[in-house]
């Protein structure tokens, strides 16, 4: 009784907010027959739900005030140039002073910045210090830079090309792992739902340490990768030996699985379908649901580049037997 009333609450919420599918609708109608007084309430609720909202116009000046700020060009590079022109009039000494001021204050003392990507989206951008970052889908990166340090917090996956600056260490914090870069290029993968955090080094050197053992720093050499497995917040320190991912070869690493995403290639090796589905969701910005437990355990290896998600799934269907239906953003696999 209590539970069916609660179920009814959920169904009513679903009905009002437009979340009910056919089965839900049928269940709702059956339950409403048992509780006719709730049917009457629902009718009133529906009427209330659809009362049009009173549109409130913003104060007339609000847009103009905002636009005045938006049109002042305050990108750092232009600021420096403007400062220079200004200082030129005051002679060489002042110019030097002006440059020092602009160099120290403009690019460094910035508040923390947050950059995020949605599933299926990849972004490249340059930090104020000149470092370049490629951010993979479904990720968030917070950066904080000042005159003494460059610190970043990552959830998801990113590839870093760090601008050398010995005076300001470049540190990436991802899950339980901390990576200190020493002028270098490396990839970090730390999606919270995967319970695993990986760093792969391509050039230069990095030092990696875990929350649990700040003293136990591990230095990676190029083409080495280290992975931490964290289970429910605990760091399992088992695989602490770095493993080599490839013999050092050409710098163009289009064949390396860890950084294939940079070339818009999705690569996977002996991965079960459940994990692969997570990858596909992030890659294509879609949702995948399984209706068949057995299918989740299929193992696939391969790589996709320009395929659409359905083309990719058709390619997988060649090796294993499963069905895939898509409706809108949702793909059902069984």
């Amino acid at each position: 009784m209590g539970t069916s009333q609660h179920r009814l609450d959920i169904l009513i919420a679903g009905k009002l907010s437009g979340h009910l599918d056919e089965a839900g609708e049928a269940e709702l109608q059956t339950l409403l027959q048992r509780y006719p007084e709730r049917a009457a309430e629902l009718a009133v609720l529906q009427q209330y739900w659809h009362v049009p909202k009173v549109e409130e116009a913003p104060p007339a000046a609000a847009f103009d005030r905002m636009m005045a700020v938006a049109l002042t060009d305050a990108s750092p590079a232009k600021k420096i140039i403007r400062l220079r022109q200004h200082w030129l009039k005051w002679g060489a000494a002042a110019l030097v002073a002006g440059l020092i001021v602009s160099l120290f204050y403009l690019p460094y003392n910035r508040p923390a910045q947050l950059i995020t990507t949605a599933d299926g989206e990849r972004r490249n951008f340059r930090l104020p210090d000149g470092s370049i970052i490629h951010l993979n889908g479904g990720s968030r990166l917070t950066s904080h830079m000042d005159a003494h340090r460059r610190e970043l917090w990552l959830e998801g996956e990113a590839y870093f090309e760090v601008a050398p600056d010995a005076a300001r260490p470049f540190t990436v914090h991802a899950a339980d792992m901390h990576i200190r870069a020493l002028g270098t290029a490396f990839n970090v993968k730390a999606y919270p739902e995967e319970g695993r955090c990986e760093t792969t080094l391509l050039q230069g050197a990095v030092e990696v340490y875990a929350d649990k053992a700040p003293a136990g720093k591990i230095r990676l050499r190029p083409y080495e990768k280290i992975a931490f497995i964290s289970k429910t917040g605990k760091t399992d320190m088992a695989p602490l030996q770095p493993i080599s991912v490839k013999q050092p070869a050409a710098v163009a690493d289009s064949a390396l699985q860890e950084t294939a995403w940079l070339n818009n290639r999705l690569q996977f090796d002996a991965m079960n379908f459940e994990e692969l589905a997570r990858l596909l969701q992030r890659w294509y910005g879609i949702r995948i649901e399984f209706r068949n437990e057995k299918v989740k355990q299929y193992i696939f290896s391969g790589s996709f580049a320009g395929e659409s998600v359905m083309q990719a799934l058709h390619a997988l269907q060649v090796t294993e037997d499963f069905q895939a239906d898509s409706s809108g953003n949702l793909i059902t696999i069984y």
Partner: protein
């Protein structure tokens, strides 16, 4: 403004730097975003500042940000900025007391629809800030549970729970109103 109008206005802003379209978008979103931000940032002034800042950034980054879902982007950006605002402590947070409970609600023999509606509105303003935000986003902006979850960085389950709670509150109001009418 429908989904298609929003999209084409935003396209004009991106491609042609069209200020009239930008104004349309601003006018359309401003009040609802301020309402949304006020629950997180704690005051109306803070909310207005945050929303203006977000539009400033939106204009500046219109070419580079590659925004596809403008509506979701705006809500997410406003939320992040509110947290930064609160974290940076630019102002001390004074959370307004919830509107005093309408203890002295008029007991009328027959409740007009308008009055009932007012009571329901009042009940919604007395929800927890999160519950209120979620209720508004779903009812007034037509967001789905998952979209709300993504914007607020909570689980879709929490969104559903909060919505069910809000609707339960509405039903209580209806029952009270009903018991006042009938005897």
């Amino acid at each position: 403004m429908g989904e298609a109008e929003l999209k084409s206005a935003w396209m004009l802003v991106c491609q042609d730097d069209d200020q009239p379209s930008f104004r349309m978008l601003f006018d359309f979103f401003y009040s609802r975003l301020v309402l949304f931000a006020a629950d997180v940032a704690g005051s109306r002034e803070a909310a207005e500042e945050v929303v203006s800042d977000v539009f400033v950034q939106l204009w500046k980054n219109r070419k580079t940000a590659g925004i596809k879902q403008l509506k979701t982007y705006l809500y997410t950006a406003v939320r992040h900025r509110c947290y930064n605002y609160v974290r940076d402590g630019r102002r001390h947070q004074v959370l307004p007391l919830e509107a005093a409970a309408s203890a002295a609600a008029p007991v009328l023999p027959a409740l007009e629809w308008k009055e009932l509606q007012q009571q329901l509105d009042d009940a919604m303003t007395q929800l927890s800030p999160q519950g209120r935000t979620i209720f508004r986003m779903i009812r007034e902006e037509g967001f789905k549970y998952k979209e709300v979850a993504a914007i607020l960085d909570i689980s879709p389950r929490t969104v559903e729970t909060q919505l069910v709670r809000a609707i339960n509150r509405l039903q209580q109001v209806l029952r009270q109103a009903g018991s006042e009418v009938r005897p």
